[in-house]
């Protein structure tokens, strides 16, 4: 700091600066104990492990789950009430891929 040596009070101020109290070890320990308490209070709470959330995250989160549910529902619906096109497709496949199946069964 700049000091004015012509200032008649400067000698007093200088003496006061030299005589400044220093924090004792005990005071510093008290201050740091408060800091520790503040750190503990500010720490984010520990979250309990949630298995459902873990599984969900493994599958890709809620957006992926929505897609999965939609696909499942569509599958169930097709199983319960197959559209005509699906039935036709099944018949066509039977006819084309196993043409002599009935004959084989009869021959036994």
């Amino acid at each position: 700091m700049t000091t004015d040596q012509n200032d008649p009070l400067e000698g007093f101020f200088e003496a006061a600066r030299d005589d400044a109290p220093q924090p004792s070890d005990i005071l510093q320990a008290r201050i740091l104990a408060d800091a520790d308490a503040a750190l503990a209070a500010n720490a984010p709470p520990v979250r309990r492990r949630n298995r459902l959330r873990d599984v969900l995250q493994g599958l890709g989160g809620w957006p992926a789950m929505a897609g999965l549910v939609t696909a499942t529902m569509a599958g169930v619906w097709i199983g319960i009430s197959p559209p005509e096109m699906v039935e036709t497709l099944i018949e066509v496949q039977t006819v084309e891929y196993l043409p002599g199946f009935d004959a084989l069964l009869e021959e036994g």
Partner: protein
């Protein structure tokens, strides 16, 4: 980060680190700021034990505000001085009934020939004279001439203009000069 490397980090940087859970930052901030808070409080109150309590309380408030600290608003040291000032004002208001005769006198008697004792006597005489100043003049003089702060920073701490700081400092020094003039000879001043 090791302790040595922390010495290059600003007070604000340390406060942000502390808010993020770095205890070492609290150690460095305590080393940097608590002597300043204690020195100011001790000069304001004239009582070391009370000054220690004020310092602890001010530092506690710093720890608590750390997570909400807004960078660029104020320096942590300036903020801390302001808190110390407010805490000292509260304590002085509570003890305003204490008369000057109850404040410890500097040791009287034969002036010491030892330079260190003279320095101690000067510091004690200054403290006695500071105790008699109006509170705001005392704050301005301590912050300017003992803590060594610039007027704009003092203005921030005291929440007044820099001009008002100058005025308070000048009036305080005039009063101090008058109070200390009779003691100048016995405290080793020849003129």
């Amino acid at each position: 980060m090791p302790l040595d490397a922390m010495s290059e980090v600003s007070d604000t940087g340390l406060l942000v680190r502390f808010a993020n859970g770095d205890r070492l930052a609290a150690v460095v901030l305590t080393q940097r700021l608590s002597p300043r808070a204690l020195g100011f409080a001790a000069r304001m109150l004239g009582d070391l034990a009370e000054a220690e309590d004020v310092t602890q309380e001010a530092m506690l408030r710093l720890w608590k505000i750390a997570p909400e600290w807004r960078q660029g608003e104020a320096e942590p040291a300036t903020w801390l001085y302001r808190v110390v000032r407010n805490l000292c004002t509260d304590r002085l208001r509570k003890t305003r009934g204490v008369g000057l005769d109850q404040i410890a006198e500097p040791e009287d008697g034969t002036p010491s020939v030892e330079a260190s004792l003279i320095a101690q006597d000067r510091a004690a005489a200054l403290q006695m004279a500071l105790n008699q100043l109006p509170e705001r003049q005392r704050e301005a003089v301590i912050l300017r001439h003992i803590e060594g702060l610039a007027n704009p920073e003092i203005a921030q701490i005291m929440e007044i203009s820099a001009r008002a700081v100058e005025s308070l400092t000048a009036r305080g020094k005039r009063a101090l000069g008058a109070a200390l003039a009779p003691k100048r000879e016995e405290l080793g001043y020849d003129d």
